[in-house]
């Protein structure tokens, strides 16, 4: 239980800020697609050496990066848009992954890969989650300025620096890393939940991007604690409970958020003179 909380909080630290940028870059669903794309890599890792942390991690990262790079490449050399090529590749990847898992594994294994097992995190997995969270925080700090500029005014960034493409690739790598870390705890389907839901919630509380990132981490941790408590006391499956908790925070934010929240509109307020 305590391990689960530590693991989920580590995930929140790494994924939250990444989610904020995915949202601001209008790539919210890309995270979802990437999460599916990871499956065949993890499955092949599983085929080779069973439920082994290392093999499934390496496989997942390899598969995620392959899909990201291939779809980026196809989008650049053909008129196909990146979202369409991403959809094509992740679907292929997902089908491949499910096929591989069902060829060899049992249903229990499939469930593990799809939904994770946050209550069964061992030391090695915890270290992996913490490592990914640290690495992604550090790297994000290093590329923060060009990444923001690449979101706001890519043309200007191109005119002053060649950093745009490398920064984009580093960012996509961070997305994949965090998703792979997330799938050990929450499974491939839900790992993107701790990335996007806290980020979307944070957007309703601040205009400032630094504050948004901090809030997304905070919301992620809150959701982890609340979800695990609910799962313990009500006997719910823990992974989905965490994401549901994040979902409740998200809905509350949409309703009551300080910035653009729906309830704010209902409050009577006279317009200002200037």
């Amino acid at each position: 239980m305590r391990r689960a909380l530590v693991g989920a909080c580590a995930l929140a630290v790494g994924s939250g800020p990444i989610g904020v940028f995915l949202m601001l870059r209008r790539m919210s669903l890309t995270g979802d697609a990437m999460a599916h794309a990871i499956l065949p890599g993890a499955a092949i890792g599983y085929l080779v050496s069973g439920l082994s942390l290392g093999a499934m991690t390496v496989g997942g990262i390899a598969a995620g990066l392959t899909v990201a790079l291939l779809s980026g490449l196809v989008a650049r050399v053909t008129p196909l848009r990146e979202d369409a090529s991403m959809a094509a590749f992740y679907l292929i990847s997902l089908a491949l992954g499910v096929t591989i898992v069902s060829l060899r594994g049992s249903n229990v294994d499939l469930l593990h890969v799809l939904f994770g097992s946050v209550l069964a995190l061992d030391d090695a997995t915890l270290l992996l989650l913490a490592g990914v969270a640290s690495l992604s925080t550090l790297v994000l700090a290093l590329i923060l300025r060009p990444l923001i500029l690449d979101c706001v005014d890519p043309g200007f960034l191109r005119s002053v620096s060649r950093a745009g493409l490398p920064v984009h690739l580093i960012f996509v790598t961070l997305v994949v890393l965090n998703l792979v870390a997330g799938f050990h705890a929450l499974g491939t389907l839900l790992s993107v939940g701790l990335m996007m839901l806290p980020a979307v919630s944070a957007r309703f509380w601040s205009e400032d991007i630094t504050a948004m990132m901090a809030l997304s981490v905070l919301f992620g941790m809150l959701a982890s604690a609340a979800g695990l408590l609910a799962s313990y006391h009500l006997g719910l499956p823990s992974g989905p409970a965490i994401i549901l908790a994040a979902g409740i925070i998200c809905c509350l934010s949409v309703l009551a958020g300080r910035r653009d929240g729906l309830l704010l509109r209902l409050l009577p307020a006279r317009h200002r003179t200037a």
């Binding site: 601001l24 290093l142 590329i143 300025r145 060009p146 923001i148 500029l149 979101c151 706001v152 005014d153 890519p154 043309g155 200007f156 191109r158 005119s159 002053v160 620096s161 950093a163 601040s206 205009e207 400032d208 991007i209 948004m212």
Partner: protein, 246 residues
């Protein structure tokens, strides 16, 4: 003297179709050059060719004592994501990129310069405002402030005064004249010929081919006769490869 740009039989275009065809000439350092011509005449394309965003189909752009790093470029409709949560101060401060780069912090001088630039474009008091809340003219003022902070030797402006009110045009034009006084090289794509006649000593009339280039009065006289309007705008997929030497 720094800032000369040289076009050597330059042809720029897309998919092998020329948009700027066999342009040769030299822009002296400290020039204030207006680029005029009908829509689709290759004006924006020429600016992209100068920044290096577009590779020449033939010929080249050469710089004397200038590198691409000395060029500041204000595109026609900045592909700016205005929904991004960024303040006016932050937007203008991105002009400081060459000095602060990835990690460099903004020191007191940099900050002072940014505040001065914001004041010079008349946006004092807007520093903390999100860029999404600015009007078109205010955003253009902010982008000019960024140009001031960039402090570039060569400044390329693509239709900087389109859809901008008279007062803002006058203010921004004063900045351009100011840069001219500081011997910077300025190229501006413009459609308002009265403004060109009044403010720009030198003009290039482009209609895919360079039609006339020189003193503004002379070039605008040529504009009246304008063969330019008769230019065939559509690219022809069956057109033969061009064999002209220069």
């Amino acid at each position: 003297m720094r800032g000369a740009i040289h076009f050597d039989n330059l042809t720029l275009g897309y998919d092998r179709h020329p948009a700027v065809h066999h342009l040769s000439g030299r822009i002296e350092p400290g020039s204030l050059l207006a680029i005029v011509g009908p829509n689709g005449a290759g004006k924006s394309t020429l600016l992209k060719g100068i920044t290096g965003a577009l590779k020449p189909l033939q010929g080249r752009v050469a710089f004397e004592n200038v590198t691409r790093a000395d060029i500041a470029y204000l595109p026609q409709a900045a592909d700016l994501d205005r929904s991004f949560p960024l303040s006016v101060f932050d937007l203008v401060s991105t002009g400081n990129w060459r000095r602060s780069g990835f990690f460099g912090r903004l020191n007191r001088d940099h900050r002072a310069r940014i505040h001065e630039a914001i004041a010079a474009v008349g946006l004092t008091g807007f520093e903390a405002r999100a860029i999404g809340t600015l009007s078109g003219g205010q955003l253009q003022r902010a982008l000019f402030a960024r140009l001031i902070v960039q402090d570039a030797r060569v400044i390329l402006l693509d239709e900087p005064f389109t859809a901008i009110d008279a007062k803002t045009v006058a203010d921004l034009l004063a900045l351009v004249k100011n840069w001219h006084g500081e011997a910077r090289t300025i190229l501006a794509v413009l459609h308002d010929l009265d403004l060109v006649r009044a403010q720009f000593p030198e003009t290039l009339l482009l209609a895919r081919e360079p039609v006339a280039w020189g003193e503004t009065a002379m070039v605008l006289a040529a504009h009246k006769r304008l063969a330019a309007r008769a230019m065939i705008e559509a690219p022809d997929d069956d057109a033969a490869p061009c064999t002209r030497a220069a």
